[in-house]
Symmetry: C2
DNA sequence: CTGCATCCGATCCGATACTG
DNA sequence: CAGTATCGGATCGGATGCAG
């Protein structure tokens, strides 16, 4: 995980299966799961994450990354250059958490028809 | 899952491993994961859930159960008696979701020492 | 017993503006 | 580039009281 991976596609969360939309599992707060996905192929810069994560504001992204760092999922490396450069990567603990996360995503993919059917059967058809 | 199971112990969520405390995975909202655990051995009445779920208020428990019902995880059965009796049980979809949920709980149990160590290493030692 | 109505504090999260 | 500071809306969830 030390080499530079492929750039993140800005539409990488267009697929609703593993986004925060339908599936009932969440990894931490709203963005943490997507940050995990962004980092699973290697280290990323702050700006790379911003564009992949649907224009999340820097405040919220910073909060998310700080929380993940505090919990031991992410390691932050700051290079003392100008302009500044900061890179984030998953720790061993963070990478190990990809396993149950994938189990949850696989489950959501498999059962998506039933999930959609349950929502459609409800008159309100949305949370609220 | 049609027979009456053992009564729920009020301390069934004293173990922090699978509660909403340390682990970064959440199943839906605050109480849904614990409701899943309460229902995994069979049908339960509203009041049974209330005591097992640490005195959750009826408003919040109702909201939780309605959401799970709408999403197809729980089936609600109301018996037209006096005093009223209502029972909740997992659907086939809900039972299938126990698998990824157990994967997440197993992961949290396995990695608890690292999770605790990460928190202890942080000066703030708490979210915020 | 099983809720519903109302109020309210806490938290989340986005918008905007500014800084080294 | 990588944040910080401030504001405010939206949602969550708990307390209390009432109803069928």
């Amino acid at each position: 995980m030390e080499t530079k991976p492929e750039p993140l596609r800005p539409d990488m969360f267009a697929d609703p299966d593993c986004s925060a939309g339908l599936q009932p599992f969440r990894f931490g707060d709203k963005w943490s799961g997507m940050v995990m996905r962004c980092l699973e192929d290697g280290r990323r810069r702050f700006s790379e994450l911003r564009v992949a994560l649907h224009r999340v504001t820097p405040k919220v992204l910073t909060e998310t990354l700080r929380a993940m760092e505090r919990d031991g999922f992410v390691k932050r490396t700051s290079y003392d250059e100008n302009p500044p450069r900061v890179e984030y990567e998953l720790t061993a603990l963070g990478r190990s958490a990809l396993q149950p996360m994938n189990a949850a995503c696989d489950w959501a993919r498999t059962h998506r028809p039933e999930l959609v059917a349950a929502r459609d059967a409800d008159p309100e058809h949305g949370r609220g």
